[in-house]
Symmetry: C2
DNA sequence: TAGATTGTTAATCGATTAACAATC
DNA sequence: TAGATTGTTAATCGATTAACAATC
């Protein structure tokens, strides 16, 4: 128990993910080193922010030189856990579900769609990306048996809470919710929303503000 | 110039959007009044937060009674600007673009896809939601002519910056970027990212932390 | 060595929450 | 009136940034 367990901000985790993408780009260009300044410019954050974020996890740089692109890249991958393969359950294979399933960054980043569920009889049993779509009734059993920890919800708002309950029941720990609905889950569950309405309404708000404040 | 122009936090705008959805739900149930407490519970925030957020824009409640659902709903819609019709340009009509185009909440919330662009010869000229897909070369002219202010980028990472530049050139003020790439735009442009990789990596990070901190 | 850039502390900034008088 | 709940100020909390000694 000598470990001091500092809580790491969510925003730091998100920025690490952005740094990682920048580092991947630099690695393609065979760049040797990168400074917190350059990385901050890429991510759109203050260089001190970059150093602070990294400092949560150790000392990865060399004073006067910056960071080794290759080393920092694999360090951050390790920190984010993308050096391991996470199984993901996809709930709902409508337009959005299909688009998500087709996303190439998926496997590349160490995520693997391991199970797909839908209520539509016409879809059940048919393969998507080599995986047969299962009926919703199988959800609890499959997720439990396969030890899946991450779920993506891509279904209509009405059933989102119900499905979330089932997922939690089955041992899911992280939920990425694309349904336009707020859902409630136990505190130990990590829940993130991707919400087109909210995004668009934020933009709309900005436009109304331009008028009011003349930015 | 008697107006004191307080800068309103982005997070407030986002929460307003969430309150609005909650109010729409309550309106369906013909609920008369709602308290900051109930609204906060729905949105997952502190009741003081709700009152603070609203207080930026005026006094909408009645002490001892709470807020009129109907009135607050239309007030927030007015604040967010969803009581007017915003034209949106959709760039890229691949899997994701199609899923976005199919999203029903679009018109409902006062957004209207007014133009769609793609580079793929096979898609150009064909209608999506009654709108003919245009070649990318038309982007500047169409966006300028139609006075479109909001753009959604749903294309591969490589071309995202190039397209963003063209959009800014054409007078776009808000960009919602689904491409897995950082882009840079002038400061007066509102830029928001929706990034599946970052979302997933945040979840992955949480899972690795559970091990480390045993949450 | 001189120049560059890290790691880290202290200062600043902004957002959230608690508390309570006002008032329905 | 008593109870409930707002609107708002003050206190707290946490995240960002500035600054600089350490050091390559």
């Amino acid at each position: 128990m000598t470990n001091k367990t500092v809580k790491i901000p969510e925003s730091t985790a998100q920025r690490l993910s952005i740094y990682l993408r920048g580092l991947a780009l630099l690695a393609e260009n065979v760049t040797e080193n990168v400074s917190s300044n350059e990385l901050g410019e890429y991510a759109g954050v203050n260089p001190a922010q970059v150093r602070k974020d990294l400092a949560y996890f150790g000392q990865f740089g060399i004073r006067g030189q910056g960071y080794s692109v290759q080393e920092l890249k694999s360090r951050i991958a390790g920190i984010l856990g993308t050096d391991q393969a996470w199984k993901v359950a996809l709930i709902g294979i409508g337009n959005l579900g299909k688009a998500l399933a087709a996303y190439k960054g998926f496997d590349k980043q160490g995520f693997q769609i391991a199970a797909i569920f839908d209520t539509d009889e016409k879809k059940i049993g048919k393969p998507i990306r080599g995986i047969n779509v299962q009926p919703m009734q199988e959800l609890t059993k499959t997720v439990t048996d396969m030890d899946i920890r991450i779920a993506i919800i891509a279904i209509p708002a009405e059933t989102a809470q119900h499905v979330a309950d089932a997922l939690v029941q089955a041992g899911i720990l992280c939920i990425l919710n694309f349904a336009p609905a707020r859902i409630s889950v136990p505190k130990h569950i990590k829940l993130r929303y991707v919400d087109l309405s909210t995004e668009l309404e934020s933009l709309s708000f900005y436009l109304t503000q331009i008028g009011r404040l003349n930015i």
